[in-house]
């Protein structure tokens, strides 16, 4: 089936090489941009080219796009890759490499991850708490005063906390010992076989619990910098540990970082996230960010999600907009929690314009400055 495809030329007037090489270059271009293209897709692409009858460039483009893209974000990447492979004769490989290099160069300094921590974590043995009391001291210590070694120690505790999250009752049922739920007819028929057809034993099914969607919206503006590295670590741990978690970062604008944070390697994940978040350590416009969350990602949040906003509430945007969007968010979400590192101070009162507008619409305002406060958050999340 793939044989004729090899001979079938696409847009052959400007290209001398075989389709095979061009397709390989195209898929390489896609992969360089983060799209997953397997051998299966490549083979399907060849088959698709064979079925498209006209040898027009546009037809081939549409066919390849349908086969090679599996995601809305892929479409743009595909257009870029297609242009560079079949376009005005620009060398495809060079460009892809340049782009990649830029991202890597740009990623580290903007991430706000201390460079030494990365090296020491790899070169030296990983620091572990010497005694139970170390952990205990760490629990209440403010994130902003953490040393790099303490960051490494806290990592494991954060990972453990991240496994705790909201659940809800599912419509799926599972066998249960307790009577009073729905009868389990399937098991009763089976059990009756053993008793000569008489349903002597009663069996029951009860609803099971599933993870409730969790949406984490993390402020990465300048004023949050001391806390952002630990809070992002928590966000990453949540994405890695649980299903149905969505992560966003915002300063002046909102960026979805769920896909970037997926994967177990914490440092790589944060690097990837830093590459897409363009406004690290800048200003804050919470209202605008939430407006985008409500509109563009409204359906991802859906009904019944717990939304956690991690921000100090220093807002340079329009407080009225913030209030409106908070109200909307609270109406669509199951529960809205605000995690504010400043709230840890005993005398803290939400006096900034932003917090004054937001607090009436939050279900809960918690501190987010230490492991103990994250523990508190985990407990709140687990509450029904």
């Amino acid at each position: 089936m793939s044989e004729p495809a090899v001979e079938d030329p696409i847009a052959n007037h400007s290209l001398g090489d075989s389709v095979v090489e061009r397709l390989a270059a195209l898929t390489a271009g896609l992969r360089a941009q983060g799209t997953r293209v397997g051998l299966g897709e490549l083979l399907t692409a060849h088959r698709a080219l064979a079925t498209v009858e006209t040898a027009s460039r546009e037809e081939a483009r549409l066919a390849l796009r349908t086969v090679l893209c599996s995601h809305h974000d892929d479409l743009e990447r595909f257009d870029r890759a297609f242009l560079s492979v079949f376009g005005d004769g620009r060398p495809p490989a060079d460009q892809a490499l340049n782009e990649l290099g830029e991202i890597e160069r740009a990623a580290l300094p903007r991430a706000g991850i201390p460079g030494t921590a990365e090296q020491s974590a790899q070169d030296d043995p990983v620091p572990v708490p010497a005694a139970w009391s170390d952990v205990e001291l760490l629990r209440t210590k403010d994130f902003a005063r953490y040393t790099d070694a303490e960051v490494a120690v806290a990592k494991e505790m954060i990972a453990r906390l991240a496994r705790r999250g909201p659940t809800r009752i599912s419509r799926r049922t599972r066998p249960s010992r307790r009577r009073g739920h729905a009868p389990d007819l399937r098991q009763m028929v089976r059990a009756s076989l053993r008793t000569g057809g008489e349903p002597v034993q009663r069996r029951w099914r009860a609803p099971s619990r599933r993870p409730r969607p969790l949406v984490l919206v993390c402020d990465v503006s300048g004023s949050m910098a001391p806390y952002a590295r630990m809070l992002l670590q928590y966000v990453h741990a949540c994405v890695a540990a649980r299903r149905r978690v969505e992560a966003f970062a915002f300063g002046t604008r909102l960026t979805r970082i769920t896909n970037e944070l997926t994967g177990r390697d914490h440092d790589r994940a944060l690097e990837r996230a830093a590459a897409v978040v363009t406004d690290f350590s800048g200003g804050t416009r919470i209202g605008a960010a939430l407006a985008e969350l409500n509109r563009v990602h409204g359906r991802r949040i859906g009904r019944g999600a717990v939304v956690v906003i991690l921000s100090d509430g220093w807002d340079r945007g329009d407080p009225e907009l913030l209030e409106q969007e908070m109200a909307r968010l609270r109406r669509t979400a199951y529960r809205l929690v605000w995690l504010n590192p400043l709230a840890a101070h005993p005398d803290y009162e939400p006096l900034t314009r932003g917090m004054r507008a937001a607090v009436p619409h939050t279900d809960q305002l918690l501190a987010g400055n230490s492991l103990a406060s994250l523990e508190q958050l985990a407990t709140v999340l687990e509450e029904e």
């Binding site: 698709a48 057809g197 991802r300």
Partner: protein, 285 residues
Amino acid sequence: MTIAEIGSVEAATAALATQGYLADRQLALAVHLAVALDQPLLLEGEAGVGKTEVARALAAATGARLIRLQCHEGIDLHHAVYDWDYPRQLLALRAAEGGVDEGELFARRFLLQRPLLAALESDPAFPVVLLIDEVDRADDEFEAFLLEFLSDFAVTIPELGTVSAERPPIVVLTSNRTRELHDALKRRCLYHWIDYPTAERERAIVHARLPGVPDEIAARVVTAVGKLRDQADLYKLPGVGETLVWAQALLALGDEADLEETLGAALKVHEDMLRVRERKVLEGV
């Protein structure tokens, strides 16, 4: 036209058009490929752009049987593939006065066919279009099962054995993107993103679906909907479905029809309506 005759993009366009579904070139190509390559087609897009309608139109145009599986939260094998008719089994046990063996009890006549099994067991002489609607509402376990189902077109019922399709159905999956589907499932499918139609196409859609609507109403509604979709800060943008309802509303009201007054046909969020009225978006349309 039969399924087998959809051998080109033009044929796919024509087939869908016979049902009043005006597909753009990209969508027609995706449908053509799905038929030609025997691969499932995954359709994503905003609400109301006509994802489900593609499968309906394809089935109706080709005389294929449409089997629809509506996914929902908590859906499992017993909703989607098969279930045993327990009440009848219990009655049969009773009637037999003790001494029924397992084979008799789990016989074919006590099996309830659900959509996916129906698609597998359908007569190979008649093609089937299997619509798996709103797959994003199902959970990960079910998605994993679907992945298996879509690669083998076979299911195993422990008591009876394996049932496989003599002729795999044409499969159309739709997703509203309330969550991201698993990569593996997406990679099994051809993917197409349905966008809002252009004004020109949308007008043609109104005429195709509502033959009684005069052109001035169609043009007016399409312009109005276009203006609403330009308002980036609305919570919920109107889809093609809303356009059709709006056109019907204007037609029913006759001469007194006013876009502002019938705004409820297109916008369903209170704040959105306030915003549109305040900014006089629809003035002069």
